[in-house]
């Protein structure tokens, strides 16, 4: 039906985006009928999404002609934006932004650097930026999940944590069961993605590689490689985030700062 627009790729893209947005709004309207109001949030998210992705597409167009280091610059900017986004999930957590940014930078950044150095990720901007951004985006989600879960766990178990402190435990020991639970919960999406790979879904990267003419077996293997890198980057980010945030939720005198009603 939309084949009539196939002559101009830009117009085709805009028409496809409008159709997809319309579908999204139909779902929002259905939700509204059931008393669930998502209109404002969905509209803002869609508007932001389209502006951001078109902006990135334009920047990529510019960067593809630039020197290779500009890819690193773009990834660094993505890390800061990811830190700010996932810090919002950790309401009232002291120092959530610096903790998130450092955790993503060291967690996802080290995996990107190592894999690029080993040659697993191509240094060409067309490969480095999309693959790197996948690792950063997943690390961001994991970081948001771990901080959000840890915050809830600490608030729900402030009594147990202070009891442990009162019995002579240090701050790390007193919060250890809740850090562990949060860490495990934050990695469920990454592990489930890996577990259901090829059975429940064929990820975008593999689909893209197939569309651009790569051999199916190589596309499949590389998709597995990317998902393992996502698991590593997410796991490392989550681990670093919990280590860094631990020192922020206690005072130097090992007093719990994050308390219900404070």
């Amino acid at each position: 039906m939309l084949n009539a627009f196939s002559g101009n790729q830009l117009i085709l893209g805009l028409v496809q985006a409008s159709v997809a947005a319309l579908l999204g709004m139909i779902v929002v309207a259905l939700a509204r009928k059931r008393g669930i109001h998502l209109e404002k949030e969905a509209l803002i998210a869609m508007a932001r999404g389209v502006v951001q992705i078109v902006a990135v597409g334009s920047i990529l167009l510019f960067l593809l002609r630039g020197p290779r280091w500009t890819g690193g610059l773009l990834l660094a900017a993505m890390i800061i934006a990811a830190g700010a986004t996932s810090a919002r999930r950790a309401k009232n957590m002291p120092g959530a932004f610096p903790v998130s940014t450092w955790a993503i930078a060291l967690g996802a950044g080290s995996v990107i650097a190592l894999m690029t150095w080993l040659g697993v990720i191509d240094t060409a901007i067309t490969a480095l930026v999309p693959v790197g951004s996948m690792l950063i985006a997943n690390a961001m989600n994991t970081n948001g999940l771990v901080l959000n879960r840890l915050r809830s766990e600490v608030l729900a178990h402030a009594g147990e944590i202070e009891t442990a402190l009162s019995l002579g435990a240090d701050s790390n020991a007193s919060v250890a069961p809740y850090v562990q639970a949060s860490f495990e919960a934050s990695l469920i999406p990454a592990i489930d993605s890996l577990r259901s790979l090829g059975i429940v879904w064929i990820p975008g990267l593999m689909a893209g590689m197939l569309l651009s003419g790569a051999r199916p077996v190589y596309a499949a293997i590389y998709q597995f490689v990317v998902l393992v890198m996502i698991l590593a980057a997410s796991g490392l980010t989550s681990l670093l985030s919990t280590v860094l945030i631990r020192s922020r939720i206690f005072t130097p005198a090992q007093q719990l700062i994050l308390q219900p009603g404070r």
């Binding site: 009594g159 147990e160 202070e162 009891t163 442990a164 402190l165 009162s166 019995l167 002579g168 435990a169 240090d170 020991a173 005072t251 005198a253 090992q254 007093q255 719990l256």
Partner: protein, 253 residues
């Protein structure tokens, strides 16, 4: 002893440096186990505790009483340094508690709270928690003895999920005693229990405190309980001490 105590108290005002030394002299005397010196905490402009000064002598039971919201629990949390004072300090055996590591301080000041907050696992594992934090192994015989002491002989391997409210509070008391505290801090230890358990746990605490000669600070809103358990009482209102003295004088005033 009381005269000496008074003289040293007066001389505290002489000079800042001298006062520290004299305070130390005074507090290292056998009689005073814990001394709260002008203790206070203000959070976001709200006064929780203000200028609270008192002594607790070795083996004494001091009750802190007052209406709901008067700052009793806030004061106990300052004494255990779960919260940081914004003014004043506490001396334990004559040492400013800011010079004691928080872990060591809290082990010495054993706390039992209104709710027991037992950790998942068995009763025995809960009793091992405190000693394990400083790398100590607690023998099964000692666990059994502590449990027998709180009337729960044979409960060591029982899962905490299967305990009644009164039993859980007894385990909480035994867990605190497993750390061999020098001072016992009791924060409304029976207020979350039903009447039958309340009476049992109160009697048990009284027995243990007497047997061990434990210096104890009891926070309670129940004046009758304070009268049954304590020798002296401190009355708090809006975070300030309004009366302190022998229990009968204070509660009848």
């Amino acid at each position: 002893m009381l005269v000496e105590h008074f003289e040293v108290s007066v001389s505290i005002q002489c000079s800042a440096n001298a006062s520290c030394n004299r305070m130390s002299d005074r507090l290292t005397s056998d009689s005073v186990k814990l001394h709260s010196e002008q203790l206070g905490r203000v959070v976001s402009g709200k006064v929780l505790v203000e200028d609270v000064t008192f002594d607790v002598r070795s083996g004494e039971v001091l009750a802190i009483v007052g209406p709901s919201g008067s700052g009793k629990t806030s004061l106990l949390r300052l004494i255990n340094r779960l919260d940081e004072p914004t003014s004043g300090t506490v001396f334990l055996n004559g040492t400013d508690y800011r010079h004691i590591t928080p872990r060591d301080l809290r082990r010495k000041l054993g706390m039992v709270t209104q709710r027991p907050f037992l950790f998942p696992g068995t009763v025995g594992q809960n009793l091992c928690f405190g000693p394990r934090q400083r790398g100590e192994h607690i023998a099964q015989e000692r666990i059994d003895a502590l449990l027998a002491n709180v009337g729960l002989a044979g409960y060591s391997h029982r899962d905490i999920a299967n305990l009644s409210g009164g039993e859980a509070q007894r385990v909480s008391l035994a867990r605190t005693l497993a750390n061999s505290p020098q001072v016992l801090l009791l924060d409304e230890p029976t207020s979350a229990l039903d009447d039958a358990s309340k009476s049992e746990v109160e009697t048990l605490i009284q027995q243990i405190v007497r047997q061990r000669g434990l210096t104890t600070i009891l926070v309670t809103h129940d004046r009758a309980q304070a009268a049954r358990m304590a020798g002296r009482a401190l009355v708090l209102e809006s975070g300030r001490v309004v009366r302190i003295g022998q229990i009968s004088e204070v509660l009848n005033a």
